[in-house]
């Protein structure tokens, strides 16, 4: 189901020799897989670019890809302090859905979901996109009623969403505990069948490879140390690899957005918080969907490797340390064990944190700033991964045309002046 009204981009990987395919696999098998081409070049910065994207995560790389493939801007660079996809792109729990309450959110998240559907073909890269469904559980009558209301709002926006009874949930997820005697019993839920998961690293790599093929320079280990301005105009950026001249700078740096804004002398309504996740040891397939719960507060899925992947809400204090406090994982494990008693015998394999940029209304910022040529894409908070293609697509349009399109317009910084907030604190499926 690929929507035809979206310009999905073109021009990447037209050379058949560069494309991944069964034939390429066979051809490379003959040379013992020693001759695979690099997925992207090791680029060093040129003196000047038409646009520079700061931040080589999924959103930044997607922005660069759509700038090149939809808007024909190929003399551009992506600057990344560490390695691409090493921040929140490689740290999230890979959940994709578009079942948000407000029209503005439905518009951008559904835009993203339509791009996810077919993204592997667009990028010629297996992103392991799996529409296994996302089920959000209600644990009280009130929550169930609120959910039904939400389902109707979502359906009015043409997005699939269905209420499920406990019996239907048990059929959909046989390993769940629907016993009504537990502290937070399963009273029902709602499901978006088109939701699911994708391989997060592959999304970064796929976008990077396709963007690189069109001439985009992906420059890793390059840290921005300053933004240079002439009056109210951006004229370039200072980096640890020297000065780079450019008239357009897109900042897509998640948890470090406030640091970049500081360099520009502007202020953002963001708080940088640790968001933690963990995986269990790998087990045989048992959970073939994504489960979210607001009241007991966690979300869980099973990766293709077999690990149970768990996440929850942010820590309660600001941090840039990429680690969180122990009570959060303890809480999410307790919630998981109550819903899935078999999990009490699993051991934790890995546990990590990433720094997310939370916004007062739990909605992102896609905006021009008071400085000509400086654009911000931030504030995705705890739910940025699902929006990756849509965010990049819309932000590329904003940078190329220097005006927000219909999808981006409500996400301008000016909403914190006018009061037209897009309050999605309840739509995350888990509380923020």
């Amino acid at each position: 189901m690929v929507a035809s009204d979206i310009d999905r981009g073109h021009g990447a990987l037209n050379d058949k020799k560069k494309r991944y395919s069964a034939f390429a696999l066979a051809r490379n098998a003959a040379s013992y897989h020693q001759d695979w081409q690099r997925a992207w070049r090791k680029a060093s910065p040129k003196a000047s670019y038409d646009a520079v994207i700061i931040g080589g995560g999924g959103h930044g790389l997607a922005t660069a890809y759509y700038l090149a493939s939809v808007h024909g801007m190929k003399n551009i660079a992506v600057i990344e302090k560490g390695w691409i996809g090493g921040g929140n792109t490689g740290r999230n729990t890979t959940i994709i859905r578009s079942n948000y309450l407000w029209d503005e959110s439905a518009s951008i998240y559904e835009h993203a979901l339509k791009l996810w559907e077919g993204l592997a073909q667009d990028l010629n890269f297996n992103i392991m996109f799996s529409q296994r469904g996302v089920l959000t559980i209600a644990h009280s009558d009130h929550e169930l009623k609120e959910m039904s209301r939400r389902v109707h709002a979502i359906r009015l926006n043409g997005i699939d969403s269905d209420v499920m009874s406990p019996a239907e949930i048990k059929k959909f997820v046989p390993c769940i505990n629907i016993d009504q005697s537990i502290r937070y019993p399963v009273m029902g839920g709602f499901v978006q069948q088109r939701g699911g998961t994708a391989r997060h690293d592959a999304v970064a790599w796929g976008y990077a490879r396709a963007a690189d093929d069109m001439g985009v320079d992906i420059i890793q280990n390059c840290e921005v140390t300053g933004l240079r301005r002439k009056g109210r105009k951006i004229i370039g950026i200072d980096t640890n690899m020297g000065f780079i001249k450019t008239n357009k700078v897109g900042c897509v740096v998640a948890g470090h957005s406030s640091v970049m804004a500081d360099m520009a002398g502007i202020h953002l309504p963001l708080a940088s918080r640790p968001l933690q996740a963990l995986v269990s040891e790998p087990i045989k397939p048992i959970l073939d969907t994504v489960i979210m719960s607001n009241a007991v507060h966690m979300y869980i899925s099973q990766s293709d490797k077999g690990e149970m992947v768990l996440g929850a809400g942010v820590d309660k204090y600001n941090s840039y340390a990429q680690r969180g406090s122990f009570p959060v994982p303890e809480h999410m494990i307790a919630a998981a064990v109550e819903l899935f008693p078999f999990m009490s015998r699993l051991r934790m394999l890995r546990h990590w944190g990433g720094i997310v940029d939370t916004c007062p209304d739990a909605s992102p910022i896609l905006s021009k700033t008071d400085i000509d040529g400086l654009y911000f894409n931030c504030g995705w908070g705890t739910g940025g991964f699902k929006a990756t293609p849509g965010s990049g697509h819309v932000f590329a349009d904003l940078i190329a045309n220097d005006r927000p399109n219909k999808i981006a317009a409500p996400y301008a910084l000016s909403r914190f002046e006018t009061g037209f907030l897009i309050d999605e604190h309840g739509a995350a499926g888990v509380a923020h």
Binding site: D262, L270, A271, S272, K316, Y320, A321
Partner: protein, 114 residues
Amino acid sequence: MLQLPCPYCGPRDELEFSCGGEAHISRPLANNKISDAAFGEYLFLRDNPKGVFLERWRHASGCRRWFNVARDTVSHDILEVYAMGSKPRRTAGKKAYNNSWRRTTAAEAAAVNK
């Protein structure tokens, strides 16, 4: 895991506290005279430094009293704990207080207690 020194009860586990976010934001009492942008600044914009941050904490499961903390957001070091209504006294906290962009906003200027 943080251990916060409650000025009234002594060092306690993070679990006993709730974090109240940025400290030293004054409500612009002359809010009918300041612009929407300035009021939006007071309402929504928050200092979010990578380094020393001045924030409010409450000993929610203890004495339930509020206090201010100067904390490093990278190392999580707690540099100073000081009473509500007072300003940081040590160098790092003082510097963070004076260098914050909030000290120069229109909303702060419109606050009566300045």
